[in-house]
Symmetry: C2
Subunit: 327 residues, 2 copies
């Protein structure tokens, strides 16, 4: 069984980890793995160059989480992290003082940067870097091209990198628009269209619909490949009871005129039968009342527990998504 | 009084630190500094790109030593250093596993790399980076151009970066020749020729005559500027009693057919009166017997204690060099 997931960072990472746990249990092979093939198509719009190194937050969040190297308590980054190099950079007045570059994390950034500067595309770099661990999933950047998300913050068109808006300003500057630089010329990374076209099921992780999933879908060719894919597309709402589960997705949704609700996000994604993304949509039990309206819009819907408290609840959510896909 | 020093890394750093201590004592100003202006013209032939960051070992050795941040016990690098990032790079299979990249040191490399990638020349980058500390000396890279030293290790012309030869192979592979890549097109960094032309005294630190001082002199224009400078040029032997004080300079000297002796190095540098570098040469008291031969070659010579055990002995050596310059 081939399962392809569209994903952002932290929320997507937990979802994919749950998915891996579920398929290892439900579809085991003899080697503590699974006969299911998991492929994540990962947002790269948050990526950036900082002090000469290439940072890919979403790819790293998923890698660390699947490797068991993530800091569960903090919610992001490596466990046992320190910031000795960052402190030096600040002392030299270089870089973004409000952007944390952990030492262990920087090891990943430098490894990636080194391979990129050797001329390898990000997808191949990711393959080499992730081979350090037994992730049980293949991570594909949505694109090998540098398509960074910038945020327009005033009517004059002033914009900044998404990371600056998100991390420095905590998404508090009202966003007018999100712009993917040079997205017109971007192409899906090798393997992305194949992972969509050959999938038995396509899942949309409960990630930021605008700057994570939206950015993946913005790469020319990906939306079209999903529309043409034989597999059902099942999304998981990142909104529970009118609030974002984590992060500040509401600030992104309001910028594009979408309400912070499970129903509004489903409508934003749209029904595949009407040229949109989704065949089916999972909302939280707290949003069960939204199910009829979502179904009326041509998207099968069901209410299940969405809160990913721990690997077990994440695995149950993944099981629910797979079951609903084939129902 | 303007004092300009040609220097390599660790040995030069100790010499310059002694010089600073001496002039602050002998030529004090009201602010715990000195009326003397110290300028170091520093070898950049050991510099390299490694995992996407620019490393400048000699500039850093001098900066750390003058800042009081150097690891005296180990003899190089930052005090209190750790290698967390390096361990990650090794785990990813990236970089040179035998090359130590300390975390604090990496902060310097990343700061430098970031400014270089912003388009600043190394001399300006060095000015900004060194401004973090009150060094009491101006550090000038010999050149802003990337002129890296490579070592030819066999008759077929196989070569490797000096750092690989020095650190990985511990200079144990017989060197056939040292090559400065693209040196023909290199120019002295801004301030270098002025520091030579306006100096009251020019000192040659007890650094590696081949790959440190020799590399500085290899930049077109520097040797000519020294030849034309009004100031006396006084060198300090890096060889004491037929042995190198530190490092593996003997492996470099033998490659170019120079014996490991204070007298042979003086002859290699040559008398300024005969188109060479030196007006005067300081040898260790253990090499006092070499003084007449050096003087016979047209270079004033004297025997003084050369061993830089601590800042005080380094300061006395610097005082001896200045006194001998003006004798």
């Amino acid at each position: 069984m081939k399962i392809t997931v569209l994903s952002g960072g932290v929320g997507g990472a937990r979802f994919i980890r749950g998915l891996r746990q579920h398929v290892r249990s439900a579809l085991p092979d003899g080697a503590a793995g699974s006969t299911a093939e998991l492929t994540a198509i990962v947002n790269t719009g948050d990526d950036m160059w900082l002090t000469g190194v290439r940072i890919a937050p979403d790819l790293d969040s998923i890698m660390y989480t699947l490797a068991g190297e993530n800091d569960e308590e903090r919610g992001w980054g490596r466990i046992g992290e320190t910031e000795r190099v960052s402190a030096e950079l600040r002392a030299y007045g270089v870089g973004w003082p409000w952007f944390t570059l952990g030492d262990l994390d920087l090891g990943t950034h430098l490894a990636r940067t080194s391979l990129l500067r050797d001329g390898l595309p990000l997808s191949e770099v990711t393959r080499r870097i992730t081979s350090r661990w037994d992730l049980g999933a293949t991570l594909l950047p949505a694109t090998d091209d540098e398509v960074e998300t910038h945020v327009v913050v005033d009517d004059a068109g002033t914009s900044m990198h998404f990371q600056e808006w998100w991390t420095r300003h905590r998404a508090a500057l009202p966003a007018r628009a999100f712009v993917q630089h040079r997205v017109e010329a971007a192409r899906p990374a090798p393997g992305v269209l194949e992972a969509i076209g050959s999938a038995d099921v396509i899942l949309v992780a409960p990630s930021n619909p605008v700057v994570s999933i939206g950015t993946v879908l913005g790469i020319p060719g990906i939306r079209e490949a999903i529309a043409a894919a034989p597999a059902p597309v099942v999304g998981v709402s990142p909104i529970i009871a009118g609030a974002v589960v984590r992060g500040m997705a509401d600030a992104c949704l309001s910028a594009i005129g979408v309400a912070t609700s499970a129903q509004a996000v489903a409508a934003h994604y749209g029904a595949r039968s009407a040229g949109g993304l989704l065949d089916a949509w999972l909302v939280d039990q707290a949003d069960a009342a939204a199910v009829p309206a979502v179904e009326a819009a041509g998207i099968r819907a069901t209410a299940v527990p969405l809160w990913m408290r721990d690997p077990e609840s994440s695995a149950r959510l993944a099981a629910d998504a797979l079951a609903f896909a084939t129902r």
